[in-house]
Amino acid sequence: MRTALAAALCTGLLWPCAEAAPAVKTLRHAFLNAETAFDPHAVSDIYSNAITDAIFDPLLCYDYLARPAKLKPNTAAALPEVTDGGRTFTFRLKPGIYFADDPAFNGQKRELTAADYAYSLRRLYDPAVKSPWLWYVEGKIVGGDEAHAAAKKRGLFDYDAPIAGIETPDRYTLRVKLKSTDYNFIYVFATPQLGGMAREVVEKYGADIGAHPVGTGPFRLAEWKRSHKIVLERNAGYRDEVFDAEPAAGDTAGQAILKMQKGKRLPMIDRIEVNIIEESQPRWLALQAGDLDYGNVPTEYAGAAFPGGRLAPFLARKGMTGQRFVEMDLVYTYFNIDHPVVGGLTPERIALRRAVALAYNYAEDVQVIRNGGAVKAESAIPPGAAGYDPAFRTAAFQYDPARAQALLDMAGYKDVDGDGFRENPDGSPLTLEMTGEPDSTIKQFNELWSKNLTAVGLRVRFNLAKWQENNKQAKAGKLAIWQLAWSADYPDGENFLQNLYGPNAGQSNFANFRLPAFDALYDKARGMPASPERDKLYAEMNRLIAVYVPWIPQTHRQRSEVSHPWLVGYRKHPLYTQVWKYLDIDESKRGPRS
């Protein structure tokens, strides 16, 4: 009793014992899919990447408020010195940046050095890591492919063996030499995969490194309940960095954020709690109730949240603000070109895939499923990315069931047994196997696919499994057809087209599309700076996609972001999944939590 009274007195019920401690600024957010792990070289999903992006520090980063996206130094002292005709990148690091504390450092402060970035680059080549990001460096860095091949042969990657294209002449200098000019390579240094990684941490945790991410970024992993909850805390030893950005002069929203936040020390929030909420309805209700501080409005509710494109009054009354824009992404359905039913480059298989593309009702995708929260895609490159051509449109990706039926008839896919569904040209049964996830949104897509394909006489069967399981199967080349989305890693069409580059089959090229003409165009474009000439090559690649249809580009999603009034300085970045480092929270405006 006495203890309770004393506690009551001290907690300020009667009078304050001491000045109240500042409130812990906690950001609450939700992912709609579970993370996989936090080894930046091994994970490829955007949710895991969002976390690794908060923990690891790449050499470069994008300006928070500049539009279009603009690169700037992060841990590098300046943008790299590019020499040798665009083939050599030399970075100089800022000294005095330290890793977050970890037992692997034996109680010592561990400074970030150029060797940590060299280690990250080398790790991409390590066959044991099975990095889905190998394509970032494969065929590009001098000596890298040879090291990769040797490690494959020996069964072990030698991290101490020199690689001619990765040099660290001194503690703070990293030099990367490419085999040939690649104008997009600089963007790789702004991805979390190229964050500085301490070798001793990786060696200490071994196979469990995915659960022990240790970086120099603004946050550190404090708690992880797999597929349920992730908690990040401010990295107490984070370097001295203050808010600064370069919004365009006419960008009033950006200028307002800059004025409010400029000069504040980063990060401004202490703790981030991320819950996994896969179903749309509870996520949307939690967002409205203030249990989540910001988020994208699920597609089912985008129409109600932004009627006529403006924030709904019921949200505005809560002080919430909204942002709507087309994302630099692509929702597409891929066909596995190695698959015995839908794959191959013979005219009848091309016709089958083309017919599927013509049978799909893109307008219903946009209007009914996404409630207007998307724009139809006409090519593999989204608006905002270099190489996007608003004048590119092909007849291959338009809803035209009559043309689809005529094409199937012409290619010999006919209903032989009279059951209403077409058979293969050789008379054998034909069933398209589509992969999906068991959630309410994908169910709607499956309904659309089902009715559209049935209307042209194609039988379809849906195999449902968790996204992570499908991802594994896709990498192994076991899926026939799967609808996916690709968000830009960097603002260039090449980032999308590389998914169909032959050598990337088995990595990012789930379609296993290997077309020499496409690969030749890709190789040529990679050595060119952004220019009308390069755009022509991109257009040629898009024409090949329209002809051979390894992908059906469906939509570019429109982001419908809402945030609560206590979240300060939030603006969705076109490339970053999260911008937690730049956010602040005014806890006094937050209502009591239920």
Partner: protein
């Protein structure tokens, strides 16, 4: 005066009038139960609906998209429908001419034939109604027709799976309770293995086995749902029936049957079973409801009804998201149908139990 038996009196009372059987007596008692009869009429109505839907007499065109997205019910004709009032698709490049592919297209030599074949195919667009009698779903399908078609799937799954589970549970329970001994021990062990696994996990395990089997891939859908539910849902029935059989096995009427030479099989299923039938019926009714709900879970996991089919479970799952935007009619249609059938079925079972119980005269 001596009493004289008249001709009329002797013919009015036959000497060998057969006594009414168990089912005749049960039917007489049920007829006297008004609530039971009302419930019976409702259940029969739903069964007829299921049969009509199966044969295509009703709700044949349930999947036809006749209204705008989320078409309002007719009695809400003037209400705002943001989802249904959209115009043409948001395609900023809709007016851009197509790029030519003919120089790289392997199909180019057959372009002319393709166009000619296309010209012969006519696609007709159905005009969409702004309102439907009880509203439309996201795709503009009539919710009433959907509920009728959904009844077919849900009642079929609920009834057939519950019937199969009851049969499995009753037969195994009868064997275990009546025979006992090593057969009883073996069945008890089998029962314990099943019940040691949480029910939902057991369903998931069966679902995973069925779902990953290439041999069964063709049979995914309603049949698989029924099989999974029947194979996992018999344990409760088994336990109760076993206890009843242990109790009845030593009763006089069973010993009397034994004395007149009735076989074990006859004693188990002709003499004892009618006396424990009320237990089976109650379990059957409970499992119908339970399995209709379980179908929702399986559908959600991708092992339920196919996407081109509908059940009350899938309707309720869809309604979950719709309620937030004020579209309540799909929930009402599926929920009311389900509530009426489940209530009627429970009441009918209750009445049947009373009608069949030999102790209640």
């Amino acid at each position: 005066m001596s009493a004289v038996m008249t001709e009329a009196a002797s013919t009015a009372a036959p000497l060998h009038q057969p006594s009414p059987g168990l089912w005749t007596l049960a039917w007489r008692r049920l007829k006297r139960d008004r609530v039971g009869m009302v419930a019976l009429v409702i259940v029969v109505f739903f069964l007829l609906l299921m049969a009509g839907s199966y044969t295509g007499l009703v709700a044949k065109n349930w999947s036809k998209e006749v209204g705008v997205s989320y078409a309002n019910p007719s009695f809400m004709a003037g209400a705002e429908n943001l989802e249904g009032s959209k115009s043409a698709a948001a395609d900023p490049q809709a007016n851009v001419p197509y790029v030519d592919l003919s120089d790289i297209d392997p199909l180019a030599p057959r372009y002319k034939e393709w166009e000619e074949r296309t010209a012969k195919i006519k696609i007709t667009e159905t005009p969409r109604a702004e309102t439907l009698p009880f509203g439309g779903d996201k795709w503009g399908r009539d919710v009433i027709l959907k509920a009728v078609k959904g009844a077919e799937t849900s009642i079929f799954v609920g009834l057939v799976a519950a019937f199969l589970a009851t049969v499995i549970g009753t037969v195994l329970g009868a064997l275990s309770g009546y025979l006992g001994g090593r057969i009883g021990d073996a069945l008890e062990w089998f029962y314990n293995v099943f019940t040691s696994i949480p029910y939902i996990l057991l369903i998931l395990a069966f679902a995973a086995v069925f779902g990953s089997s290439p041999a069964l891939a063709e049979y995914k859908g309603v049949g698989m749902v029924v099989a999974i539910l029947a194979l996992t849902g018999w344990t409760g029935i088994y336990r109760l029936v076993r206890a009843e059989y242990i109790k009845h096995a030593s009763r006089e009427y069973v010993k009397a049957a034994q004395a007149i030479g009735a076989s074990h099989q006859r004693r188990m299923f002709v003499h004892i079973l009618p006396n424990v039938s009320h237990v089976c019926l109650v379990q059957l009714s409970q499992h119908v409801v339970q399995f209709i709900k379980a179908e929702v879970i399986l559908s959600f996991l991708g092992l339920g009804v196919p996407v081109d089919s509908v059940s009350w479970g899938t309707m309720l799952a869809e309604a979950q998201a719709e309620l937030v935007i004020g579209k309540w009619w799909q929930l009402a249609a599926a929920g009311l149908s389900m509530a009426v059938l489940v209530t009627a079925f429970s009441m009918l079972t209750d009445s049947l139990r009373d009608a069949l119980d030999p102790k209640i005269k």
